[in-house]
Amino acid sequence: MKMFQIAALWLAFAAPVHAAIDIQTVTSPGGITAWLVEEPGIPFTALEIRFRGGTSLDDPAKRGAINLMTATIEEGTGDLDSQGFAKARDSLAASFRFDADEDTISVSAQFLTENRDQAIDLLRRAITEPSFDQEAVDRVRGQVLANIRSDAKDPDTLASRALRELAFGDHPYATADDGTAESVQALTRDDMIAAHKATMTRDRIYVAAAGNISAPELGPLLDKLLGGLPATGAALPGRAPMNLTGGVTVKDFPGPQSTVIFAHEGIKRDDPDFFAASILNEVLGGGRFSARLMTEVREKRGLTYGIGSYLVGYDQAEMLVGQFSSANGTVGQAIAVIRDKWARIANEGISEAELTATKTYLTGSYPLRFDGNGTIASILVGMQMIGLSPDYPKTRNDKVNAVTMEDVKRVAKRLFRPDDLRFVVVGQPEGVVATD
């Protein structure tokens, strides 16, 4: 082990690593703002567009409408049907992806420099003038219904559904945004048109581009692409309640393993203690092999293949959530270990060595994220949506390094609350008693 002490010493003098990306802010003549990282080396551009609100804007009587709408938006526009649209896109070697989650609708596009204008025009037609042909709505509806049936037999989905139901009361976060078989069956073409109008609007757009495009080129492109959308959309939902209580929920499911999700309330992204909380969670439940839960549950005891915990930040709620699976016979032992580690970090905090090592990990791994145009565009939009400024990548590591041992001790007590942990166990666990 001696040879690596020398290496560590040398590294102590290595220059601090900062994310080297240079973010420009571009405002189009029509008033749409975007962040841009120019990377002229490869002749294509990645463009990421998000609309705040996502599937939480569903009319409760039409749950699943926004999800189905997003999945159907690429199925034709004007004189192009599904086939025609896909062929036109593929002939340009462009790729467009449309996604919806509880907080956003996202459009991820990549297109070559050589036919950028044609690709943008095709994308514009899909975004602003989707056909929602009855045939396409029905076909995609069939796919969504298959997903809904499939989710009903997927232990991971069953566990996270059960947790959301327990946590979020009557907020949209509490229910599946695919909708139910019944609600999706009842959706009409008019519902698609209404869902489109309510969600993809100019008052909630966030845009970023990375790649072979300049600021003067990007501005007019944004107006061309997005200028035809309606000005305003449906009202955003308010804060979600946090109804989780400590205890154990068991859902019967056949198989050799139990899948477990455990959670309690988390911490807001703009909380002054967020960075201390991030360090603490990384020490306890980071996905790395040296994190405490990974060490205790996997490395020392062999009870699972993988375990981690995450500070999850939705627009309207925060949770600290962990997940693992373990044989039905050993899942109870794993839960006991987690409870014990949760209590321990709350009471004792972490060591100086853990604080230092985790800071090095978090600051060292940060620049590794910015690896490719698509990823960079996606990170940039995410930053805008949580209210960060364009210089954040240059200052973020300083914020991590500023966290003190005192901060960590104080925040550990506040963040980890062993008595509030709710475990949802999907499987046929032995010796695990449901508390409700």
Partner: protein
Amino acid sequence: MSHRALWAATCLAALSGPALADDVTTFQLQNGMDVVVIEDHRAPVVTQMVWYRTGAADETAGHSGIAHFLEHLMFKGTDDLAPGEFSATVEAQGGDDNAFTSWDYTAYFQRIAADRLDLMMKMEADRMRDLQLLEDDVLTERNVIIEERKSRTDSNPGALLNEQMRAAQFMNHRYGIPIIGWKHEIEQLDRQDAFDFYNRYYAPNNAILVVAGDVTPDAVRAMAETHYGPLQPSADIAPRTRPSEPPQLAERRLTYRDTRVSEPYVTRSYIAPERDPGDQADAAALTILAELLGGSGTTSLFARALQFGPAPKAVYSTAYYDGTSVDDATFGMLVVPMPDVPMEEAEAAMDAVVAKFLETGPDAEDFARMKTQIRASEIYARDNVEGLARKYGEALAVGLTLEDIKGWTAALDAVTPEQVTEVARKVLNRDRAVTGWLLPKEEPAQ
């Protein structure tokens, strides 16, 4: 709409080409270790990968899973590193590391700030020859891989069907045995099995170093010579001659029922030629055949025939082929019928699409569109330097040459419609295939 797909759709990844030739440098150390350097100076980041030319198909009978088990145990310490210290050191430098095992190769990688490459090489070279294992660590890790098998395979009816189908497809070749191993054999693996496999296969002359990112070939060469250079090559790396398959004389079919199935499906797997050094024309044609048949959820032949129209037969359909292997590969297809369509009918409809294609060959317009995408894929591929590192490592590990790798896009581009038809007629023969049905099983009465 690809994000609505139930199963990971095959994407254009198979079509994407390597980096431009001038970004890639290769050389060999004196002890026989191959080195590939892929330069990408956009960010101060580097990926180091070490690929061993050995995997699950090199295991001896009765020891299935040992290649993968050893991969886990490689993190358990050396004469210089305590158990877990390898990953802890990578993480303490802000990097990430992991490893993966296939039938033909085992690979280890770290992704880290470019100025820390030297330390990564020092550690990776250390564990190539100086692994040390404590009995207790081996037994605990065996439980981890048993849990891994439960998560990946035993909890997943589709994975269980797939395992049964491969076992039916390969009667003699070890491609028929799951990489993770059969459960009853994993339970018997021990420390000695791991060392036997390690000593037989882990040596510089059976390894490929791929370094990709913000590095120069000269710097990599100097570091590699310092750290890997002194390692002794092994004198007895056996040639990769695996038992070959007897001729398949009859169609093979099986049905797997499981209470956890929600969407039944039919899937077919045909024996197909792989990429051979200096001869990858058939593999290129098969790659394009898979794209034409099932690559797109909208415009592929399967999608158009089965998912569109007034009475669609299927919710989802796909076809896939990956020819990067040492021995014969497989060509696969899968159809998830609409809820009211019986499995027989779905399979007949799938076969009708195949039969029609064998008669008529590719549509000229479809073919032209695919060629456009192939040429563009070379541009998009350059954005993902880790993907490039994997392509080089994987291809070299299965015995392909640098010329094969650099020529892959050209090979795809050179494929003619006639070649696709010809290779389809040769490969898509049910007498050389396994057909599987995945069906739900009624819950037993409580």
